[in-house]
Amino acid sequence: MTLFATLWADVRGTWKQMVLHGLIFALLFQVFMMIALIVRFQTLPNYVTGYDWIGNVIWIIKSTPSWSDIPPIIWEEWLLEIGKMNYDYGTGISEWSLNVVPSRLFVLFILGAMVSLCLTLTKRDACSAGTSNKLRATTGLGAVLVAMTNATMSWVVCCATPSWVVGLAMLGLGVSTSLALETMGPILTFGGFGLLVALILYLAWRKSRTDLEPIPEPSHA
């Protein structure tokens, strides 16, 4: 109970910072992906397409009979597509693109906020430098797992349904390895979030324990 009270107090005290860091993280991740694409393909984007995300979501809710089918469909809805169109063939074919997907933005926002909380708790934790580094590394691992599985770059524009491993394949990972990893996406995401949640709880527990411990009286007093 003390653990959750401590955690709640920390969240309440830093929520503005968490929201800000969540937003910055989600946006910076889009910028990072765009830079990765530009560097990988050595070309700048030449088209931008906007989508009526809100209208589309309303339409999906109205026209999908089962409630359980709605979230996964909305999950794939795009807000923005920025990419490179190659006009050497036909009427143009998208060579690569960055897809801004609100559902993934939300996940990245949550991730950013959690990382912010982790770092705040780590900073306040009175542990040795070595332990601090381990805690930061664990935070980083959790963040990488979640961020990696929420990459929304697209390159293979042919027939293959876009998935998170497309981004990995595009950045140099072998096709076989990418495909082998594809089904592990949800597991990796949950693994990453699980790691962060566990870390937050651990740090809050340490903090609550420190708060409860009586301050020893100086022996020479």
């Binding site: 589309n56 339409w59 999906i60 026209s63 999908t64 009979p65 089962s66 359980s68 089918d69 996964p72 469909i73 794939e76 809805e77 190659n86 050497d88 063939y89 036909g90 009427t91 143009g92 074919i93 998208s94 060579e95 690569w96 390159w155 293979v156 524009v157 042919c158 027939c159 293959a160 349904t161 876009p162 497309v166 394949a169 595009m170 072998g174 096709v175 076989s176 990418s178 495909l179 594809e182 089904t183």
Partner: protein, 458 residues
């Protein structure tokens, strides 16, 4: 007073009748996802769109008497996004190739409440032509077994990817013996042109585009796998149940699109070039008599078997969900559409065009830039005509010959030519040309050398 009130009521009622009728006029939205860079989808996509064939067949009587149609077309470079848009109910119909069709059916069946139906084909190649492996034109690779240790790219998840996997298995080249890279058609074609990749496997019409532009050379044709290559139409089941006559209208439009192309292939591909940006000479290789594509929408048992085979590949390589083919594939709409058109469905279904048989004895062709396409029954006539054209410095758009082994239609300039005495034969692959040459005591010659023989005679 009462009479007056009654009269007013009657008049008001009479006045409101047309308004009530207007109010009941239903707006039917028909959204189709198609692919203008995939030739085999054209008879259910770009041709139907540009000729307004769907509008021609849309029902206007019975429950559709007051219907207002809102038809829209969305062009995609692959089937994957079409499926996503269909799931979101932004598209009712989707036109795509065999592998994405299977993914479409499986993804819908994975949901609780949504389904698609595979209602018609667009066209096919019985042996699998359309997919091919291409190498840079100056490469010293001439056969698939030379790909051991090389880097091969393909759009993973496409029909060409499936063909590549099977081709490698058939030739006993394990996955570890070559480097598979994931590349979109445009990237693969650009890399072939720049010689940055050893080989690229792609679907229609990319291989032929590379051949026509002189950047790539085919070393393996999909027909060698023997697995039919087909494309088709899927429709959301909820739409099909609500508007079965609209689905039938769509199939009628597909059928007429095929007839329109068959009637005058040269004019058809010239128009299609304007609509799609794909060179008409490349399209002619697909849509002319003896071309890679047989335009016919029936669903044959062989197609179902091929789709089941492809699904097995996808399950193994990409772990896609199961697919109940019996629930997914239906011929009901096809049969109803054919009956309305007065065409015998079973007769169409029974016909299976095998290029190796059907293309035997077909004439060679020259597409003269000014005079159009001319046909030549014999090789000497064809080569002599080419020699005469060259003497006048007139422009030739393309020439077409046939592979002796498979019956596949080829560009004259990319074929391997064998001269045996006074006879000439053309081949897709160098190995078979060499074998034929040794068997007949002939020699391999280039297209230019074969033409030069007739210039000298002149």
């Amino acid at each position: 007073m009462t009479t007056n009130y009654t009269l007013k009521s009657v008049l008001l009622g009479a006045a409101l009748v047309p308004m009530a009728s207007m109010a009941s006029a239903e707006k039917i939205t028909i959204a189709v996802g198609h692919q203008s860079m995939c030739t085999d989808t054209y008879t259910a996509g770009i041709v139907v769109k540009e000729l307004g064939l769907l509008e021609k067949y849309l029902p206007t009587d019975g429950k559709y008497a007051d219907a207002e149609y809102d038809v829209s077309w969305a062009d995609y470079s692959s089937g994957g996004p079409i499926t996503n848009q269909m799931l979101a109910n932004k598209l009712n119909f989707g036109v795509m190739g065999d592998y994405p069709l299977i993914v479409n059916g499986a993804k819908f069946q994975e949901t609780e409440s949504l389904r698609t139906l595979y209602v018609a084909g667009t066209g096919y190649n019985l042996k699998g032509s359309g997919n091919a492996i291409v190498v840079p034109v100056d490469s010293d690779i001439y056969s698939i077994d030379q790909l051991e240790g090389k880097a091969v790219s393909t759009p993973v998840g496409s029909a060409a990817w499936g063909m590549l996997l099977k081709a490698m298995q058939d030739n006993e080249i394990p996955t570890g013996d070559y480097v598979l890279k994931n590349q979109s058609p445009a990237v693969g074609a650009a890399n072939i042109a720049a010689g940055k990749i050893d080989a690229h496997s792609d679907f229609c019409p990319w291989s032929e585009i590379m051949e026509f532009r002189g950047t790539g050379r085919k070393i393996y044709d999909g027909s060698e796998t023997g697995v039919p290559y087909l494309h088709g139409v899927v429709v959301r089941e909820d739409f099909a149940v609500e508007y079965p006559e609209v689905v039938e209208a769509f199939i009628k439009a597909v059928w007429e699109a095929g007839e329109w192309i068959r009637e005058d292939p040269m004019q058809a591909v010239t128009l299609m070039e304007g609509w799609t940006g794909v060179e008409k000479e490349v399209l002619y290789l697909y849509f002319s008599e003896g071309g890679h594509l047989t335009l016919e929408p029936s669903i044959k048992q062989e197609w179902v078997d091929a789709l089941k085979f492809n699904h097995g590949v996808l399950v193994k390589e990409k772990a896609i969900p199961p697919l109940d083919f019996d629930a997914w594939i239906t011929e009901d709409y096809l049969k109803a559409a054919y009956a309305d058109l007065g065409v015998d469905y079973e007769a169409d279904k029974a016909v299976m065009v095998d290029p190796a048989v059907a293309n035997k004895g077909l004439p060679m062709e020259i597409w003269h830039s000014r005079d159009g396409v001319s046909s030549f029954g014999t090789m000497p006539e064809f080569l002599k005509a080419m020699a005469e054209i060259r003497a006048t410095a007139a422009l030739v758009n393309a020439t077409y010959v046939y592979d002796v082994e498979t019956g596949l239609k080829l560009f004259g300039k990319t074929a391997f030519w064998v001269k045996s005495g006074e006879e000439y034969a053309t081949f897709l692959r160098k190995g078979e040309a060499e074998t034929y040459a040794s068997e007949t005591g002939g020699t391999l010659v280039s297209f230019d050398e074969a033409i030069a023989d007739f210039i000298a005679e002149g």
